[in-house]
Amino acid sequence: MIRRNTIPFGPQHPVLPEPIQLRLVMEDEKIIEALPAIGYIHRGLEKIAEKKDFIQDVYLAERICGICSFMHSQNYCQGIESLMNLTVPDRGRYLRTIWAEIHRVHSHLLALGLLADSFGFENLFMQLWRTREIILDIMEQTAGGRVMLGTCCIGGVRKDISSAQATVVLRQLDQVQKECDEILPALLNDYSVKQRTVGVGVLPRDKAHELGAVGPVARASGIGMDYREQGYAAYPDLGFKKVVETAGDCYARTLVRVKEIAESIRMARLALEKAPQGPIAVPFKGNPTGEVLARIEQPRGELNFYIKGNGTRNLERFRVRTPTFANLPPLLHMLTGCQLADVPVIALSIDPCISCTER
């Protein structure tokens, strides 16, 4: 007789860097149902944002998540700028794009490294993270922080990248590209890696749409949705090309990330070369009024901030919908019917960021 068991996966699990619990209802080795239990890192950020003034909130928004920190502050600033009718100068737009794309490379390398670790390929994990350190060096040189850049501000950016720095950064990006070309084929072509990822955790296109998947998860299932196409910041000038795969399994999601790394490096290089001279920020006066749903494409997918200002220094409401929050229902679908041993790989193939999710 097959008995049903419920296995709690997490909150402290060796493959998960963050606490999330998945309650897995099992029949032997097969998962019948999965449910997430979160709240271990709920900080109440939305309320804190109402207490601090809207300029301090830039730093708060940056700390929603340490991995995609810059893009959180960028989205927040873009939202406030649209409420206050500010136009960011061209150089500011380019610098934002450079940092955002560099950040995306670091985030994807991190995610791929953790994925490699989840199927026990520790050597590859170390190699990917070694390459990632170059990106962190770039961020430290240009912005001053390895993880928290703190460069985005309302109206533009706070720091400029000098031409001497740009030369160094271009050289370092070359190095990243070179190392990625060496390492990433091992992730894509290795027999043992394919055994663990091909055909595992399949998310069909219609399910992905219905469950609201975003980012690489949606793009791996054939939904060509990338908000960078809509051309915020400097993307319209850089000839952005989105990456779409159709298989919908863990391998396709890995492939999307690998291809996006190359595209991001290309765009960061182009933006560094093309960035026009000029001011990097515009001054502003007054307080934000009105409501807006600010959107941006983050490494994990589409990020939405609902910002409601009431004409005072404090916001009326600040709501954060992060990509992992949208990708959790698809994850539950992927887990259903798979085997317990595949749970770490599937969970890490959506690149979960629980700190984002719970805020």
Binding site: K52, I55, Q56, Y59, L60, R63, N123, L124, Q127, R130, E133, E140, Q141, T142, A143, G144, G145, M148, G150, R158, K159, E182, I183, P185, A186, N189, D190, Y191, S192
Partner: protein, 99 residues
């Protein structure tokens, strides 16, 4: 398998990636935000930094004239440095040493 093997062979010939901290300290970029410091003689104790600090890490009193920062609450964002009217706040690029 073969791709990874060639990577491993390449790594054998390569210089070690490890930074030998704390035996060798690397040269930090000048832009790095390590910890907050003050040139106290220039300070006019206006309290602008205290008001703007997102974490309330800075405490300024006018009488007696004191300026204090709790480094264990400071997020090193640099907002205070920007608003300081006398430019007396600065971010050192090395991190705060262990006491």
């Amino acid at each position: 398998m073969a791709t990874m093997l060639s990577n491993i062979m390449k790594n054998l010939g390569r210089k070690a990636a490890t930074r030998l901290y704390p035996f060798e300290k690397r040269e930090l970029p000048t832009t790095t935000r390590g910890h907050l410091d003050i040139e106290i003689d220039k300070c006019i104790f206006c309290g602008a930094c205290q008001k703007r600090c997102p974490t309330n890490a800075i405490n300024v009193t006018r009488d007696p004239k004191t300026w204090a920062v709790n480094h264990y609450a400071c997020i090193v964002c640099g907002y205070c440095v920007e608003v300081c009217p006398k430019d007396c706040l600065l971010l050192r690029n090395e991190h705060l040493p262990q006491p």
